[in-house]
């Protein structure tokens, strides 16, 4: 039960048409900005997964090309750009924008106009990027003007995401409720802070490289940076690991919050889990150096100094994030010994964290030269595991915090199977690509076109890869089915579903202390926090572990 009043919101009354649209377009309410991110990335997800399925279908065609050769390059670009920067990162940012100020006990987001501007910049940039790819621009595109447009549009989209990240990071650092020191910050908010700091370091490097590529392409010369392939060659690290590992960090925050809430107990050891989540952030060094950090092939024959010069960066970029992801999952899962109440967000969170751990581990393995996985589809499988981990975590976040945003809940019986279906699909889509990588099926961040068939992606259809390609296709279709069903269920549940109380999960953190749905300014009174689980302190039945 809440102790505060609901504010009258400034939202336009339902059916007010243009006024309602204007209200959403000009809003500075973090929950609305977050929901716009969630909605746009949800729709993008449907499109990007359809493209993923089409490309997977193309790979299963052993005798020829099922799709027009000229369109494969464009589809591949949509697939990479779409799933990374139109789905994965904005989904995490959208969930964070909705939830973080509520968790902090803040009445608003810091710099809400900056966050809103960031959304629109990202949205316009993403649309322009897709339009330019469709017009034969983008990586390996044949239309020079649209190649330029793609580069600039991507820069605009990334700047938009950065603006929202600055707003989020500032909120966590400056708008916490009285008494909420950094050790008392809720799990999800902590993971978002780690993501924000690391993304602020990594994304500008991608932007800088794209600017070089843009100038080189706009003013053609004999530069090594010139040519439509330069986007993939020089800026491809922004669409691959370890950069994408950073975008998946909030997955562990979703898991920790859902485990703590489901077990109705304090999740411990708090400091160790915080440190583990922060360790994953060391992957940002890999993004910042703009080149793969690898252990060279023939490692055993290298000199001592050469071994150290390989091992040290590898440990920072790959081993520490892996250790962090493992510890974050293992320590959080310890909390499940307290017999949790099984709910859909918890299952989504568990599956997402396992997928993310798989992705981080595979990223490390793929950069060991002697494994022979460089240039194969193993990288794509790794990327898919991380992208779909974020997708599942995003669904878990919507199912978990949706009642706080819409005042209605998603039915457990209908949502739980979707978590299983989504996880099955994600595993099927990603793991076969990794196995096909061991079978030397070639892959690339952006497609290679220089091997005889201009404009085509040269998939290797023969040999054992065929089976894995079929399985991957099945996986993408299952993910598509999950996404469709989840979006339909969410739309129905949050408009006509069962109304819920203010604290439907028996929660521990401040977001459950306000009304459902939360009013425009979140809280009528500013609460003083005396522990990391302020609501749990007030529930005597749950204090046995205090």
């Amino acid at each position: 039960m809440t102790t505060i009043d609901t504010h009258a919101t400034s939202a336009a009354p339902a059916g007010a048409g243009l006024a309602s649209v204007a209200d959403w377009v000009t809003t500075t309410d973090h929950k609305k900005i977050g929901r716009m991110y969630l909605g746009a990335s949800g729709l993008s997800m449907l499109g990007a997964v359809v493209v993923a399925a089409l490309l997977a279908f193309e790979r299963t065609d052993a005798t020829g090309t099922a799709l027009p050769v000229a369109s494969i390059t464009q589809l591949f670009s949509v697939y990479r750009f779409g799933l990374t920067y139109m789905v994965m990162l904005p989904l995490m940012i959208g969930a964070a924008l909705c939830v973080v100020p509520l968790q902090l006990g803040a009445r608003s987001l810091a710099f809400p106009r900056l966050a809103a501007t960031g959304f629109w910049a990202w949205f316009v940039g993403s649309v322009l990027a897709i339009v330019s790819i469709a017009a034969n621009g983008g990586p390996n595109g044949g239309n020079a003007r649209f190649v330029d447009l793609f580069t600039l549009a991507t820069v605009l989209a990334l700047l938009g995401l950065l603006a929202s990240v600055v707003s989020l990071g500032t909120s966590i650092l400056t708008t916490r409720a009285p008494g909420m020191n950094m050790r008392r910050v809720p799990w999800f908010s902590w993971s978002v802070l780690v993501m924000c700091v690391t993304v602020l370091v990594a994304l500008p490097v991608v932007i800088g490289t794209l600017l070089y590529v843009f100038v080189a392409h706009r003013y053609p010369s004999l530069s090594d940076l010139n040519g439509n392939r330069a986007i993939g060659e020089w800026a491809g690290f922004g669409f691959s690991q370890p950069t994408t590992i950073l975008f998946a960090i909030p997955v562990f925050g979703v898991l920790a919050d859902t485990v703590a809430t489901s077990t109705h107990a304090r999740l411990k050891p708090r400091g160790a889990i915080f440190a583990a989540i922060a360790l994953i952030g060391t992957a940002m060094y890999g993004a910042a150096v703009q080149a793969p950090v690898v252990i060279r092939a023939g490692f055993s024959s290298l000199s001592g100094n050469e071994k150290v010069s390989d091992l040290l960066p590898f440990a920072i970029v790959h081993v520490l994030p892996l250790l962090g992801a493992f510890l974050a999952l293992a320590l959080t899962a310890q909390g499940l010994k307290r017999k949790p109440t099984v709910n859909a967000p918890l299952v989504f969170g568990l599956f997402a964290a396992q997928l993310a751990l798989l992705g981080v581990a595979a990223s490390a393995l793929g950069n060991i030269g002697d494994a022979g996985l460089a240039g194969t589809t193993f990288e794509e499988g790794t990327w898919l595991a991380l992208v779909y981990a974020a997708v599942l975590a995003g669904m878990g976040a919507v199912a978990f915090w949706g009642p706080k945003l819409w005042g209605r809940s998603m039915p457990l019986k209908a949502t739980l199977p979707l978590a299983l279906l989504g996880f099955g699909g994600a595993v099927l889509a990603s793991v076969p690509m990794m196995i096909a990588g061991f079978a030397d099926q070639p892959g690339a961040v952006f497609p290679a076109v220089e091997r005889g068939v201009p404009g085509a992606v040269l998939f290797d259809y023969s040999g054992p890869s065929e089976l894995w390609n079929f399985l991957s296709l099945g996986g993408h279709l299952l993910v598509l089915l999950t996404a469709l069903a989840f979006i339909a269920l969410a739309l129905r549940s949050f408009t006509k579903g069962e109304q819920v109380g203010d604290d439907p999960w028996d929660g521990q953190t401040l977001e459950w202390a306000t009304t459902s749905p939360a009013p425009e300014h979140n809280f009528a009174a500013i609460h003083v926090v005396q522990s990391p689980e302020p609501l749990l302190d007030l529930k005597p039945s749950n204090r046995s572990d205090a």
Binding site: A110, L200, N226
Partner: protein
């Protein structure tokens, strides 16, 4: 009934300063990444025995050094503004911010002078592409800084004298800019 203790709304915790620090970190990462790639290409060119700076390209080192030198007084003026604002001295704050803006203008002017006197086409090769992209981004950051100076001056002189945090954030921006530009100046103009 769950009743959390409540408190009056806390005083703002230096939002503008923290936000500026995050933006500055991103800007440093942007320029740092671009400088690193510049160094990588330069290293490859030198290893291959090629000329990195095209033969006929001559820079005005006067212009480059003027740019660097303007940043020293700019930082001093920005800190003067903070000092004066803390003491509620509107006149000194206004003069300090005005001089900061003037130095920023001098910086932008010096960069334009270098572009005008070098007369290097953008499409000359890798060097020219990277030179214009890198210095163009730095120039853009200087223009953003000038905008920040103008905004800080208008806010403070417009009567928001208790709003000292913006003046502090403004100083932080220019300190960071001076540091970042020093690296770029050394790499692009001094060691070439």
């Amino acid at each position: 009934m769950l009743a959390l203790p409540s408190a009056p709304a806390p005083a703002p915790r230096r939002q503008v300063l923290v936000g500026t620090a995050l933006v500055v970190a991103a800007a440093a990462s942007l320029v740092g990444g671009m400088t690193a790639l510049f160094l990588r290409f330069r290293s490859v060119a030198i290893d291959n025995g090629e000329l990195w700076v095209p033969k006929d390209v001559k820079f005005s080192m006067v212009g480059a050094n003027v740019m660097w030198i303007t940043l020293l007084p700019l930082c001093i003026f920005a800190q003067w503004a903070v000092y004066a604002a803390k003491r509620g001295d509107r006149a000194h704050t206004g003069v300090a911010l005005g001089l900061s803006g003037l130095m920023a203008l001098a910086f932008i002017n010096a960069q334009a002078f270098i572009y005008a006197t070098t007369k290097m086409p953008v499409n000359l090769g890798t060097y020219s592409v990277m030179f214009y992209a890198l210095t163009g981004v730095v120039l853009l950051l200087a223009i953003v800084g000038l905008g920040f100076t103008i905004a800080a001056a208008f806010r403070y002189l417009g009567g928001r004298t208790s709003d000292r945090e913006v003046v502090s954030a403004h100083a932080l921006y220019w300190y960071a800019f001076a540091t970042v530009f020093t690296v770029v100046w050394f790499v692009v103009y001094v060691t070439k």
